[in-house]
C-alpha cells in the first residue's frame, strides 16, 4: 500500500491541525477495505473506528428474518464506529464494505481518549454524527414517499460522490439488499434510468452517463443530505468548535 493517499483525504482527519493532528495521526493504521468485508457485525462491539479514504461502507440494518435495508453510506467524508464515543460500544446495524478501497483505523481505546480530550476532534465527530442522523432520517422518509427509480437515483448519486470514477460495480441483488427491495424492482428501475439515457447497465457494472440528468430525476433527498452534510462538516472544520480547554 505504498501509493496510498494520506489520512488527510478523509474529511474529518483532514480538518485536524497542529498538535492534535500530529498526536492522532500517530495512532492511525492504514488498512484495506475489501468488497463485502464486515467491519462490524450487528450487536458486536466495535474494536476500531474506521476513517475511509477511498471506498464506501454501507450501514445496513438487518431484521430478524435477515431482510436488510441500508440506513446510511459512509465514504471519505466520515467514519464508522460512532458507538465508540457516543456510548454503547455496539449498534444494531452491520457495517459492510460496499466498494473496495482503504481506510485508516484507530483502536476503540484511542478514539475514546481522543474524543474525551475535547477540542476540534470532538466537535468534528459530533457534527459528523449529526450529518449521519440527517442521512438516516432522509432515508426513512425516502423509503416511505418516493418511487424506486427516485431512490435508485439518490443511491447512485450518493455512491458516486464517494468514488473516484463514474462507474459502480454492483449486482441488482446487492442493490436490492441495500435499498431493501426485491432485485426485480431494482432491475425495473435501472431499466427506466437506462432508457432515459442516464446510466448504462451491463453485467453488474453501472456507468453513470448523465449525472445532471440523474440529479434532476432524483427526489430532493440527495440534495438535502449533501447540503446538510457539507454545512456541518465545514462549520466544524472552520471554527474548530469550543477549543481544547
Amino acid at each position: 500500500m505504498s501509493d496510498q493517499k494520506s489520512p488527510q483525504h478523509n474529511a474529518l482527519l483532514g480538518a485536524l491541525r497542529g498538535e492534535e493532528r500530529t498526536h492522532l495521526f500517530a495512532q492511525l493504521e492504514a488498512v484495506p477495505l475489501t468488497l463485502g468485508q464486515i467491519l462490524c457485525e450487528a450487536g458486536e462491539p466495535f474494536t476500531h473506528a474506521y476513517f475511509p479514504v477511498e471506498g464506501i461502507v454501507s450501514i445496513l440494518y438487518v431484521m430478524e428474518n435477515a431482510a436488510s435495508a441500508e440506513i446510511a453510506v459512509v465514504g471519505n467524508e466520515g467514519m464508522i464506529g460512532v458507538a465508540l464515543f457516543m456510548g454503547g460500544q455496539s449498534t444494531l446495524s452491520r457495517s459492510i464494505v460496499q466498494n473496495a478501497g482503504y481506510a485508516y483505523r484507530m483502536s476503540g481505546q484511542h478514539i475514546q481518549q481522543a474524543f474525551n480530550r475535547g477540542g476540534r476532534f470532538q466537535t468534528l465527530l459530533l457534527h459528523f454524527v449529526h450529518a449521519l442522523i440527517t442521512q438516516m432520517v432522509q432515508t426513512a422518509a425516502c423509503n416511505r414517499h418516493h418511487s424506486v427509480d427516485q431512490q435508485l437515483c439518490r443511491w447512485l448519486l450518493m455512491s458516486l460522490d464517494r468514488l473516484p470514477s463514474n462507474q459502480l460495480r454492483m449486482t441488482q441483488k446487492l442493490i436490492g439488499n441495500m435499498l431493501g427491495i426485491e432485485s426485480k424492482g431494482v432491475t425495473a428501475a435501472a431499466f427506466v434510468l437506462e432508457k432515459a439515457g442516464l446510466i448504462t447497465f451491463d453485467n453488474g457494472h453501472i456507468t453513470v452517463v448523465d449525472r445532471a440528468g440523474l440529479e434532476a430525476r432524483s427526489c430532493e433527498c440527495y440534495n438535502v443530505v449533501k447540503k446538510e452534510c457539507d454545512r456541518l462538516i465545514q462549520s466544524a472544520a472552520s471554527d474548530g468548535g469550543p477549543g481544547p480547554n
Binding site: 454503547g88 474525551n116 432515508t139 414517499h145 430532493e220 469550543p242
Partner: protein, 244 residues
Amino acid sequence: MPDISQTQQNHLFRAMPADVRERVFPQLELVRMPLGHVLYESGSMLRHVYFPTDCIISLLYVMENGASAEIAIVGNEGMVGIALFMGGETTPNRAVVQSAGLAFRLEDSYLKAEFARSGFFQNILLRYTQALLTQMSQTAVCNRHHSIEQQLSRWLLLSLDRLTSNKLNMTQELIANMLGVRREGVTDAAGKLQAQGLIRYSRGRITVLDRPGLEAACCECYVVVKREFDRLLPDTSWNKNRLN
C-alpha cells in the same frame, strides 16, 4: 428552583448526580406543551432544549411537497433539541407536540456550558442520542418492510410507554401524518386491531385494551428499540414504572 419531584418525572434528570443538578436545575423553566404546538420548524435556529415530563413530542420529517413522516417520538425518557450540542444549531426536522403535557426547558447557553464540562451530562446526552439514532433507523426499516397494522401497533406501544394512562387522544388524520400513510390506511389498520379486541377506537380516542396482544401483533421494531434504550440508558430506570 423548580420542584425537584417534578424534575424526576424526566428519566434523564433522574439519573443526574448532585453536582449537575445544582448547576442545571436552577436554570430550568417548566413550560406547557399544548397539542399541536410546534417547538421547532425545519431549518429554524434552536434556542432551547426540552425535557418532557408527561407530554410526547413527535419528530417529523417534512418533505418539500408538505408530506411528512415521523422519524421518532420523545417523551419523559429523553429530550428534544440534540442539534444544540451535536452542532449545527438547526435541524431539518419539525418537532411538534403529539400529546399535551409539560416539559422543562433549558436555554442553549446553559446547555452548552454544562455539556462542555465533558462530565456526566455530556455522557448521558450522547448515550441518549445514540438510542434516538436507533429508534430512527428502526423506523426507516419498519417503513420499508412492515404492514401499516404492524406500524400502527409499534406507534401505539411507543406512545403508551410515554404516557401515564392507556388512552391516547388522536385523530386518524394525525396518526396518518405521523406514519406518513394515507388516512384510509390507518382506518383500515385500526379496524383490524379493534376487530381482534386489542384496541377500542371512537371519536379520536384510542384505548388500548390488550397490551400483550398488541405487542404480539407488532413487528420486532418496538422491542428492539426498547431493549436498546434499556441497554444504553440503564441508569435512567426508564420503563420501570410503566403500566404492566
